[in-house]
Amino acid sequence: MTAFLKLLFRNRLAAMGAVVLGIILLLALLTPVLPLKDPNITNTGDRFARPFTEGYLLGADHLGRDQLSRLLYGTRTSLAVGAVAAFLAAFFGSAIGIIAGYFGKRTDNILMRLIDMLMAFPYILLALAIVAALGTGLINALIAVAAVNIPFFARNIRGITVVLAHREFVDAARLAGKGHIRIILTEVLPNVLPVIVIAMSTTVGWMILETAGLSFLGLGSQPPDSDLGSMLGQAKNHFTTHPHTSIIPGVMIFLIVMSVNLLGDGVRDALDPRLRSGALSRPLPVTNVAKNRTLPAANPEAPLLDIQELETQFHVGDRVYEAVGKVSLSVKPGECLGIIGESGSGKSVTALSVTGLVASPPGVITGGAVRLEGKDLLSANYETLRRTRGNRIAYIFQDPLSTLHPLYTVGDQLAEAIRVHDSRVSKSAARARALELMKQVRIPNPESRLGNYPHEMSGGMRQRVGIAMSLANEPDIIIADEPTTALDVTVQAQILSLLNDLRRERGLAIIFITHDFGVVAQLCDRVAVMYAGRIVEEGPTQSVLDAPAHPYTKRLIACVPELGGGRRELAAIPGLPPVVNDLPPGCHFAARCDKCQPECKVGYIPLEGGDKRTVRCIHPEEVLA
């Protein structure tokens, strides 16, 4: 709660709205005890008394009634009516929305069509019709305003409920014996409540305005009672001669509605989890690189891609997550390097750091270099980096459905990828090249598939398109981040053999990120094992898998069940990987390692070994030559 208030008041406008609204609310609450004149006593002698005259701080109206008193009593009425209307609209609208969204099918269809009918009328016409049917009066105006706003709530809440009703915890609740009503009240409602509150806070101002509108037309509060709308309505005939009678209630309406809306927007921003996590803030086009980073000297051999002592961190608040710690890797043309690790080991962040694709903020590259043919990419300007991305270094991601644009055909997207990097290519040439690419990734019937949208293709076909896209500009290096994890095994086998053929035919270098030893064993020449942001072991795949040197590698391999072993107990590693914002000194695996000695928990343990293989361990399983 305090965190929420802090977040709310960091927004200056929301804070201002809260202060103004607070003052107005306080005044409205205190009105009966304030030393005010009776708002309904007429004194025609003082008609249209000017503000600041004796006895009339804000002047008097056309019947000589005290404006200040009428204003405060009117504000009370308007606020109460607006709040009650918002509550009623939220209550009924949300109830309809939840029922429609939860039960779906026919219930949903009927309820939503009724709501659509309600929405088909202009709101003022509908409100007028309701007041006409029920008769004039403040309560009827309130009902009209609430009814007019029901569709807004119903539609919003229905959308959210539909998503919630298909979540697994709702199924789990049904299996726990809960009935529909209990599920709606105890499982669904607590999850939609924040949205209802947000929607209410942003609409209450609107409802105050609508009620004032009806009163202005004489359909709301009846004389001698007043609300802000009726005050304006009565003053409108004297606007040119005695403007203060109109301006004063007008300013009050303006202040209320403005402060409510500013505060409501602030509440929405502070409560919305997407906004809170900063997901809607636009990341920079290139990851921030720390100015004072240590730049290692270039390797004289200048491999195709050389990642040197890369350090990438995430700075969230005052916490620092060391996602990647001094990672050094290199690839040669035609070589496939596997990076294997569990979730949170830093393998994807390493890959994204290569071309500065880590979201910034919060990501910062704090050290190291990434050299493409000897030239450091991290020091390069945006334009160079942009040309490198896709052109020299291309990516394939895990879920092609989320990386392909749903509204363009795959042919158009392929052609665009080609033309973005070389605008001299004509549209028809780009199209022809797209067709050729589709053939290269062995998509059957490529001509007809060009016109397909991503959702019309199966997962395996989409991933082929993803690969075709990465090949579009004949890159030298492909970084594949778990490209087959979302696919079925039979499809995975096809994609892997496709990647293998491509690198043999074109001399592509592939960095293949995965958590699957079987995949690494079949595709990669060399493998690097990552744990808690560091490489713990590196070497030729066969030799690492046959004789793992780091205890983590050895035990991780033992955890992977192999087909053909029959029914058995599986090996496990007890405990969890450390959190990367609080890494222990010494070996990161020490806490889970059964060979751990006191010296494993102090200092920095370097990656050591021979020409081919290296390991970060004081007591390795194998002595490396």
């Binding site: 979540r167 609740a173 726990a176 607590p190 086998a493 096809q494 087909l563």
Partner: protein, 320 residues
């Protein structure tokens, strides 16, 4: 098998989802997500169910726990027929453990509230009984009782999955359906969860239906394995035989596709192979379009599930 009590008996269970049709019109067509399936599971067995995405695994599992009403067929659990799709009636006999450990826990409820629901609603326990039972279950799944007051987002995947097991156990069911219980977990953690489940099965005398796409995991935990393709059972047999000596060409393809350390990478089939269109299913064997042994008979007739060796059935005219 004949002397053992049956935990689950399923006969002719199928599901067809209607397609199209509006407020007043009848559905135009139907997708057959699960074709009629019959099988029995003896008490104390783990039956592995494997198949690729779209093969009907999840639809099948949701029918078994009463979350989805079957189009045809009967379900009998521990001798009791369950023909009305009422999750509460099912809940006391069969429970479901979900794939995504976090999303199966309501983010706005404490673990205690989540654990109490089945005890209160399915077994009508009072507060002291519930507390005692929760302590007992938490001790069995190696969770500390202080976790009870926390919210789901505070847990790692492995812990959340153990909470999922604890909730399923709380209903004291005969059978638990495990729907991809470890596919969201890291390898080093998945074995922790699998071994725990094996221990609990012995401790509470449970029967498991273990659904997964990971063949090696299924083989390691199951007594028997059932292979699904396009909504029908293509093969069912002892775990040690199904992948090592498959009878159905699809099972062989599956087993051959799993990446294995030390096996060279070869494309197991042509790239053109895709699942048949569920809206317009081909007549005959659904695998005919991808099968290397296909004949005209396969394209015309649907092969029945037939015995091929001891406790081994396959639906194929030309078994391997």
């Amino acid at each position: 098998m004949t002397t053992q009590k049956l935990a689950l008996k399923v006969s002719d269970l199928s599901k067809t989802f209607p397609i199209g049709g509006g407020l007043f019109s009848k559905p135009k067509a139907g997708v057959r997500a699960v074709r009629p399936v019959s099988f029995e599971v003896p008490e104390g067995e783990t039956l592995g169910i494997v198949g690729e995405s779209g093969c009907g695994k999840s639809t099948f599992a949701r029918m078994l726990v009463g979350l989805l009403e079957p189009t045809t067929g009967h379900i009998e659990i521990a001798g009791k027929a369950l023909d009305n799709a009422d999750p509460a009636a099912f809940g006391r006999l069969i429970q479901y453990m979900f794939q995504d450990p976090i999303s199966s826990l309501n983010p706005r409820k404490t673990i205690r509230q989540i654990m109490e629901a089945p005890l209160k609603l399915l077994h009508g326990m009072d507060k002291p009984q519930r507390d005692a039972r929760i302590s007992e279950i938490f001790a069995s799944v190696n969770l500390r009782e202080e976790f009870l007051e926390r919210y789901p987002h505070e847990f790692s995947g492995g812990q959340a999955q153990r909470i999922g097991i604890a909730r399923a156990l709380a209903a004291s069911p005969e059978i638990i359906i495990l729907d991809e219980p470890v596919s969201a977990l890291d390898v080093s953690v998945q074995a922790q969860v699998l071994n725990l489940m094996a221990r609990l099965k012995a401790e509470f005398g449970l029967t498991y239906l273990f659904i997964s796409h990971d063949l090696a995991v299924v083989e390691a935990v199951s007594d028997r394995i059932m292979v699904l393709y396009f909504g029908s059972v293509v093969e069912i047999g002892r775990a040690e035989n199904v992948f090592s000596a498959p009878k159905h060409p699809y099972t062989k393809l599956l087993a051959g596709s799993a990446p294995v350390v030390g096996r060279p990478l070869t494309a197991p089939e042509s790239a053109a192979a895709e699942l048949p269109d569920p809206l317009n299913p081909p007549p005959g064997c659904p695998f005919a379009g991808r099968c290397p042994r296909v004949t005209d008979k396969c394209r015309a007739e649907e092969p029945p599930l037939e015995a091929m060796g001891e406790d081994h059935f396959a639906a194929c005219f030309h078994p391997l």
